[in-house]
C-alpha cells in the first residue's frame, strides 16, 4: 500500500555533498512555510558527515507536522545539489514527485581512489522513472557574475513546482539573504524559476 503521512503534509528533501551550502535553501523553505502560516519541521545533519559526506535536509510543512523526517516514498520534491546524490535518494520520491537536479558532478572518495565508478548517464536513468528538472546552476550563476548564488537558482527551479506565490518567495529571499546580496539573489531566483 502507499505510504500514508500526516494529513495534508508536504515533504521536501534537500540532498547534497557536505560543504555545498544547502543551509540557505532550508532556511528559505522554513521561512516561506512559516510566513504562510503552516506548521513546519526541518531536520538536518551536523558533525562528521558535513566533511564532504552525503548530507540530507528534510523539510515538512502542513496543518500539523509530527515527525521531522521524510521517509522513503514520501517526498513531493527532492532537490539534489549533485547528480550522484539525486540517484542515491531518488527512491524517497512519491510516484508523482518532482526531482530537481543541479547538473554537477563531485566525485566521492570511493571514486577518486578507484574503488568505485561514478555512474554514467545518471540524468537519463532518473528520467525513465521520475519527473526531472535539471540545470547546471553553477554555470547559470557564473553568467550572473557570482558563482555563489547557484543555490538560489536551485531554489528558483524548485519554487516553480511548489504551491507558493512567486511574490512570497521573493519576499522571503529578500529578508533571508545578506542585505548586500539581495539584488543578485533575486535575479538568481528569476533564472531558476524560469528554467523549464
Amino acid at each position: 500500500m502507499a505510504v500514508q503521512t500526516t494529513q495534508e503534509t508536504k515533504n521536501i528533501m534537500i540532498v547534497g555533498v557536505g560543504g555545498q551550502g544547502t543551509l540557505l535553501t532550508s532556511r528559505i523553505l522554513g521561512g516561506i512555510t512559516l510566513d504562510a502560516g503552516y506548521d513546519v519541521k526541518l531536520s538536518e545533519v551536523h558533525g562528521m558527515a558535513q566533511r564532504g559526506g552525503s548530507v540530507v535536509t528534510y523539510v515538512r510543512y502542513g496543518k500539523e507536522v509530527a515527525e521531522p523526517i521524510v521517509e522513503e516514498g514520501q517526498a513531493d520534491v527532492l532537490i539534489a545539489f549533485e547528480r550522484l546524490e539525486a540517484l542515491r535518494y531518488a527512491h524517497f520520491l512519491k510516484k508523482n514527485g518532482v526531482l530537481i537536479v543541479n547538473d554537477q558532478r563531485i566525485d566521492p572518495i570511493t571514486v577518486v581512489t578507484g574503488a568505485a565508478q561514478y555512474p554514467a548517464d545518471i540524468l537519463d536513468t532518473l528520467r525513465q522513472k521520475y519527473r526531472v528538472i535539471s540545470a547546471d546552476a553553477s554555470a547559470e550563476a557564473l553568467k550572473l557574475g557570482n558563482s555563489r548564488v547557484f543555490n538560489t537558482i536551485i531554489i528558483g527551479m524548485a519554487a516553480a513546482h511548489m504551491d507558493f506565490d512567486k511574490e512570497a518567495w521573493l519576499k522571503v529571499i529578500e529578508k533571508t539573504v545578506p542585505p548586500k546580496t539581495v539584488a543578485i539573489n533575486l535575479a538568481a531566483f528569476e533564472v531558476g524559476y524560469n528554467l523549464k
Binding site: V3, G19, L34, S43, H46, E67, E72, I109, A115
Partner: protein, 579 residues
C-alpha cells in the same frame, strides 16, 4: 509579547535556559550538543564557557548551583561518561540553585564512537530525566528541569537525541524570568560527600526518587492520549512523533519524565488497552521496568536497539504493512573525508609514506583511519591515543612500537590527552606523541579551547602553550613543525620514533575552514609535464581528479592552494603559486 520562531532543538534548550533565569553554563563541544552553548553565548545575562572537558564543565555548573544560582552543563552522550564522576555524587548532595545536565545521545551514530543510552547512566546515578519530543518541548522541558531540580533537591538530566537536537520546529518565545539567588549557608552534611555524610544522603536519594515517581503520575508532561484501545503505546522523545505518524489511532502514554517512571499511571494505562507496546530508541529502559512490574508489553522483541526509528519501521513491525517502496539505486558510497587543504592530510601523507601505525583519537583526524590514508589503527575515546600507545609499549617493549605513534588533536589533548602524557613521563615510557595543532576544535564546527587564546564569550586571553606544558613535564624532545613542511616532518618523525624516552611532535597549521585562515596560494596544473603516476592523488584530496586522458586536473572551486600535491609531484606538473 510572545514571538514564534523556527528554532533548532539545541537553540530551544539554550532559550529555555535563558528564560529559566540560568546564570552559568559550561560545556565541552560534542555533536549533537554543541549548538546549545553556541546559542547561550547570545544571551549576555548568562556567563558561559567552553571547559576543557565535560567533567570540568559539570563541576563548574555544580559550584555555581551550590552558590545559589541556576546552572547548566551540556554535552554529548560520551561526554556524560567523562562527567559521570561528579554526576553520581552530586546526585547525593543535591542542589541549592537549580542544576541541569543536558545529555545529547546519537542513535544512528551520525558523529560518535558508540550508541550508548544516557538514560542508563541517569538511572545508575539516580538522576531524574526529562525527554522532549520537539523544539517547543526542548525549551519547555529545560525550564521545567530547573523547577524540578529545586523542588526535589536534585540535579536533573534533559536527554535529547540527534533528531531532536538537530531538528527545527516552531517555538513560542517568552521573556526571561530572573530568579533570585538562593541564599548560601554552610551545610557539610549535604555538600561534603565523605562516608558519614554520604550514607545519610543515599537514604535521601532513594526517598527522593520514590516521591518523584509517585508525583510523576500527575505531572502534565506525562500525558495520556486515549484513542482506540486496541493498541496502546508507551513512548517518549522522538519516537512519539513516529508513533503519531504510523499509528494515528492508537492510544498513547507519552512520557516527558522518563526516570523515575510513574508506575501507577502506567499500570492504569496498560489496563485500558488490548495490546501494549513500548516504543523507545536504543536500550529497553522503560520496557524492562514496565515488564518487571508484571505488565505484558511488546518492545524489543520486534524493534531494534540499534539506530534511529522511523514511522515506516513501525508500520512494518506493528501493523505488518507491505509498503510500496522502491529499492535504492546501487551507487558508490560518499563517506566523509578530510577537506581540501586540511593540514591533517599532509601529516597523514607522511605517516603513510613511512609505514607508521597510529593509536588515534577523536576528531576530524579519525578519518586518517580510512583509505587512502590508512594510518590510524585504533580509536577509543577522547585522550586514549596516548595511553593506549603507552599500554602497547609496556606490553611489548620499545622495539615493538618503533613504527607506532600516538596522534591527537590540540583540543582533544587539552580535554584528556594531557593526563595520559603525564603518565607516559611518570611511568618511563618510550614513544612519540604527535599533537596535530590546528588551533581549534575542528569537527564540531570550530570552538575555542584553552590553547587558542579566546573564550566562548569572545574574550582574548593568554593561550596556554602546549609546547611549554610538554616541556614542563620534563619531556626533552618537543619539536614544532609546520604541518605542510612534509620534508622536515618526515625527517623529524624518523628521528623521534627511533629515540628512547617520550618525545612530542607538534604539527602546526590552522584548520582550513577557520575564518581567520586566508587562502594565499593557488595551484597551477602543467598537464604537459604530468606523467600520470598518481603520486599527487594518493593522499586523497577531493579537489584533484584524473582527466579523461589520465592526467591530473584540479577543481578550482574546491582547491585552496595548500600545495601538498605540488610537493609530492616529482615532475613539476603541479605548481603552488602565490595569489
Amino acid at each position: 509579547m510572545s514571538e514564534q520562531k523556527i528554532v533548532l532543538g539545541n537553540e530551544a534548550i539554550a532559550r529555555g535556559a535563558y528564560e529559566a533565569g540560568v546564570k552559568v553554563s559550561a560545556a565541552y563541544p560534542g555533536t549533537p550538543s554543541t549548538e546549545i552553548s553556541e546559542n547561550i553565548v547570545k544571551y549576555p545575562e548568562i556567563y558561559c564557557e567552553w571547559s576543557p572537558n565535560e567533567k570540568v564543565a559539570t563541576e563548574v555548573a555544580i559550584g555555581a548551583a551550590i552558590s545559589g544560582v541556576r546552572a547548566m552543563a551540556s554535552m554529548k552522550h560520551v561526554g556524560v561518561n567523562v562527567a559521570s564522576d561528579p554526576l553520581y555524587t552530586i546526585s547525593y548532595g543535591g542542589v541549592n540553585g537549580g542544576l541541569v545536565l543536558v545529555a545529547a545521545d546519537d542513535p544512528g551514530l551520525y558523529s560518535s564512537q558508540n550508541e550508548q543510552d544516557s538514560r542508563m547512566v541517569a538511572r545508575a546515578a539516580m538522576v531524574p530525566v526529562l525527554e522532549p519530543s520537539d523544539s517547543q518541548e526542548a525549551k519547555d522541558f529545560t525550564k521545567l528541569a530547573f523547577e524540578l531540580s529545586e523542588k526535589y533537591d536534585t540535579p536533573m538530566m534533559v536527554r535529547t537525541t540527534t533528531r531532536i537536537a538537530h531538528s527545527q520546529g516552531i517555538v513560542t518565545l517568552e521573556p526571561r524570568v530572573e530568579v533570585e539567588d538562593k541564599p548560601y549557608s554552610r551545610n557539610p552534611a549535604k555538600f561534603v560527600m565523605m562516608p558519614g555524610n554520604a550514607k545519610g544522603r543515599h537514604v535521601y536519594v532513594e526517598q527522593r526518587l520514590k516521591k518523584m515517581a509517585e508525583d510523576a503520575c500527575s505531572f502534565s508532561v506525562n500525558r495520556v492520549e486515549m484513542r482506540d484501545t486496541k493498541i496502546g503505546v508507551i513512548t517518549s522523545g522522538i519516537p512519539y512523533q513516529y508513533v503519531r505518524e504510523a499509528l494515528p489511532d492508537a492510544s498513547v502514554l507519552k512520557l516527558g519524565l522518563v526516570h523515575p517512571l510513574p508506575r501507577k499511571l502506567i499500570e492504569e494505562f496498560a489496563s485500558k488497552v488490548d495490546t501494549l507496546y513500548v516504543i523507545e530508541e536504543l536500550e529497553p529502559v522503560i520496557e524492562e521496568q514496565v515488564k518487571s512490574w508484571g505488565i505484558k508489553a511488546i518492545g524489543k522483541e520486534i524493534l531494534t536497539v540499534q539506530g534511529e526509528y522511523s514511522a515506516n519501521m513501525l508500520r512494518k513491525a506493528i501493523l505488518h504493512q507491505e509498503l510500496d517502496i522502491e529499492e535504492p539505486a546501487a551507487v558508490p558510497a560518499r563517506p566523509p573525508i578530510l577537506c581540501p587543504g586540511c593540514p591533517h592530510r599532509s601529516v597523514f601523507s607522511v605517516m603513510n609514506k613511512l609505514g607508521i601505525h597510529a593509536a588515534g583519537d577523536i576528531g576530524c583526524y579519525t578519518l586518517g583511519a580510512v583509505a587512502p590514508l590508512n594510518v590510524i589503527d585504533t580509536t577509543v575515546c577522547m585522550g586514549a591515543s596516548i595511553s593506549t600507545l603507552h599500554g602497547m609499549e609496556k606490553a611489548k617493549g620499545r622495539d615493538y612500537i618503533r613504527n607506532w605513534v600516538a596522534m591527537i588533536g590540540d583540543s582533544t589533548f587539552m580535554h584528556t590527552g594531557i593526563n595520559s602524557l603525564m603518565n607516559m613521563v611518570y611511568n618511563q615510557s618510550n614513544g612519540t606523541v604527535i599533537i596535530m595543532d590546528n588551533s581549534t576544535t575542528g569537527m564540531t564546527g570550530h570552538q575555542d579551547h584553552a590553547a587558542t587564546g579566546k573564550t566562548l564569550m569572545g574574550q582574548e586571553v593568554p593561550a596556554i602553550s602546549i609546547y611549554h606544558m610538554c616541556k614542563a613535564m620534563g619531556i626533552e624532545h618537543v619539536v614544532e613543525v609546520d604541518a605542510f613542511d612534509i620534508q622536515t616532518l618526515e625527517k623529524v618523525v624518523k628521528e623521534e620514533v627511533n629515540r628512547d624516552g617520550v618525545s612530542v611532535i607538534i604539527t602546526k597549521s590552522p584548520c582550513v575552514l577557520l575564518k581567520t585562515t586566508k587562502t594565499t596560494h593557488k595551484l597551477l596544473v602543467h598537464s604537459d609535464k604530468c606523467k600520470k603516476c598518481g603520486l599527487c592523488l594518493k593522499p586523497g584530496c577531493p579537489a584533484l581528479t584524473k582527466a579523461e586522458d589520465g592526467t591530473v586536473k584540479v577543481d578550482t572551486t574546491m582547491c585552496n592552494g595548500c600545495g601538498l600535491c605540488a610537493k609530492r609531484c616529482p615532475f613539476g606538473a603541479l605548481e603552488q603559486v602565490e595569489i
